[in-house]
């Protein structure tokens, strides 16, 4: 199976997002690189608004992810509650 | 294969027609396995020039900085013209021996393998 991935700028807000991703995608791998954080997972990854809000302790909208986003790989689907990345194998 | 364009007969202007070079044609020369010269070189040269001129003027001008240049035994050199083995006639013109516009001439120097034998 192929890996989907997402990379975020290494900053305070991203740390919360990464925490949320780790919680919702327990098999994912987090890789710290210069100035960026890359998270990979086999086949599918989900970023959930609710979990991020929980980590941040405030309201957060999915489109706000783009402010810190560097790159991603996989088919994207975004709605109000989550953004998912998938590969069809 | 014709290009797919919005109008029929898409014809682009050929920028490098030989007529545009003021009586010259372009000749490319490369020295095999001597990549200190990063790529073959290009010269504007008269199609009426004898090959001797290529050997005595153009080639030294381009390649003499190489430490092996002085060691070349020109009788042993193997030539290719546009990918085919070729024996140049020193006194015939380029045109007479089929070296036309944008032809590529390569030469190999057996026994000379570049700086420390690395092909440079």
């Amino acid at each position: 199976m192929s890996k989907v991935y997402i990379a975020l700028q290494d900053n305070e807000e991203s740390h919360y997002i990464v925490e949320a991703i780790e919680e919702d995608n327990p098999d994912s791998t987090v890789i710290y690189q210069p100035a960026m954080i890359r998270i990979e997972n086999e086949g599918r990854m989900v970023i959930k608004r609710e979990t991020v809000e929980d980590k941040m302790g405030r309201d957060w909208e999915i489109p706000a992810l783009h402010v810190n986003l560097i790159t991603l790989g996989g088919n994207v689907d975004e709605d109000d509650d989550e953004l998912t990345l998938t590969w069809n194998d | 294969m014709a290009v797919a364009a919005i109008t029929e007969n898409y014809v682009g202007e050929r920028l490098d027609r030989v007529e545009n070079f003021h009586g010259n044609q372009v000749l490319y020369i490369g020295w095999d396995h001597h990549l200190m010269f990063c790529a073959p070189v290009a010269f504007p040269v008269s199609p009426q020039a004898p090959f001797r001129q290529v050997l005595e003027e153009l080639i030294p001008g381009a390649f003499s900085l190489h430490p092996e240049f002085g060691e070349i035994d020109w009788d042993e050199v193997q030539w290719h013209l546009n990918g085919e083995p070729f024996t140049p006639d020193m006194d015939a013109t380029l045109a007479e021996q089929g070296i036309d516009h944008k032809s590529a001439v390569r030469f190999a120097t057996p026994g000379l393998n570049g700086i420390k034998g690395c092909g440079s």
């Binding site: 560097i70 790159t71 590969w87 | 590529a104 092909g119």
Partner: protein, 510 residues
Amino acid sequence: MSNRKLNLKDKYRLLTRDLEWEYSYRDYEEIFKQESFEGIKITDWSKWEDPFRLTMDSYWKYQAEKEKKLYAIFDAFAQNNGQQNVTDARYVNAIKLFLTGVSPLEYQAYNGFAHVGRQFGGVGARVACQMQSLDELRHVQTQIHAMSHYNKHFDGFQEFPHMHDRVWYLSVPKSFFDDARSAGPFEFMVAIGFSFEYVLTNLLFVPFMSGAAYNGDMATVTFGFSAQSDEARHMTLGLEIIKFMLEQHEDNVPIVQRWINKWLWRGYRVLTLVAMMMDYMLPNKVMSWQESFEVYFEEAATSLFKDLARYGIEMPAYAATAIEEKEHLSHQAWSIFYNYGHAAAFHTWMPTDQEMDWLSEKYPNTFDKYYRPRYEKWREMEEAGERYYNPTLPMLCQTCQIPMGFTDMENPTLTSYRQSEYDGERYNFCSDGCKDIFDHEPEKYVQSWLPVHQIYQGNCGGAEMEDVLGEYYRINLGVDNLDFHGSPDEERWNAWHNLQPAEDKLKEAS
């Protein structure tokens, strides 16, 4: 009245897709003239899916937030003379290449996406392209603003748009984008939206920006990452358009496959410049070209093409060649620029011993065997006061326009020559990829404005190289060009840091 809340999908449908109407006073074909000539069959634009469903209110809001952050950093960088904090003045040459070679491509993307953003018949696709056009404008402008401060303290930035239209090595990226923009709207999307944005920009931006981070270049990291935050949207658009075309009609599949083959090769050749930047121009290295190629091309492309296999799309034809070349590419590119360092608007140099050791470690199969001896010879010549410059202009590939510095991978010290005849004239190429591209559309590629031929035709300011370089290219001779050692950039850098000239250091070191 209690208003039910609209979700993102409904909102996008009502606010964007529903704006369209069926024309009755004019024909669809009059309004979207360019939609059919490429042979792509679209039966239903309403099947277009926009994964982000961005409306203008969100666009303005989030983009303004990004810009606010970005310009705060630019201001701080300039106020604090951040240019002093890069690892080494040699590093700045990487961003000179970036401003002259890459930023103008962002400009071309701005033009190109505006073009397709008008020409597609579906509003969803049009709007996505328009937003990308606007983003690309953002990128060129933020890059100019980031470099504006460097321009005040280093040479070689000052004529970037003039140079992009004329200088030999910039003809490589320029011809790439001219090629894409002169193609029809669907091919443009495969060329730029998919092949470049989806498959290749990661190779351009991510390692390079990490490199900037590793080399203390705050301004570049900031614009780079900020630009990348738009890139995720662009990548997704690129993938979406491919899927859309493939789903619309089976007849589209072979056309799309041919475009993918062509554009991945064309884009990969342009990235030769990046390979060289990564391995040679970053004093503090992040990862080698080979390593980033493995992660961002081989691994990522494999997943992608596995995903696209269900449509009958295969891994592009020349990927195997690109993979074979990964252990040679950057060294061959650096050799080209070292050869023609007198004709470039940035500086070149020979790697230090430590840097050569890094290259040996990263390229155990090739560096010591093929390249180190060459470099040591060049260094020796430099120390003898005879820094090597190639005295003759190079042979260029008709398609990619790069000097023919690539070799046959089965015989890596033999130049790779390819040739075609068309309409009574010979054309030369660096590779099968470039030759096939020409052979398929010779009418297009006979038009290439090849810098070396243009010089020989007398169209670049005169017969003397000084006229070409100084007058036509506007290289400030003896200042912008030649080796880094002995350059005014180096001299100023040393003065800022009270360092002894590198030449002296070089002598001591050897």
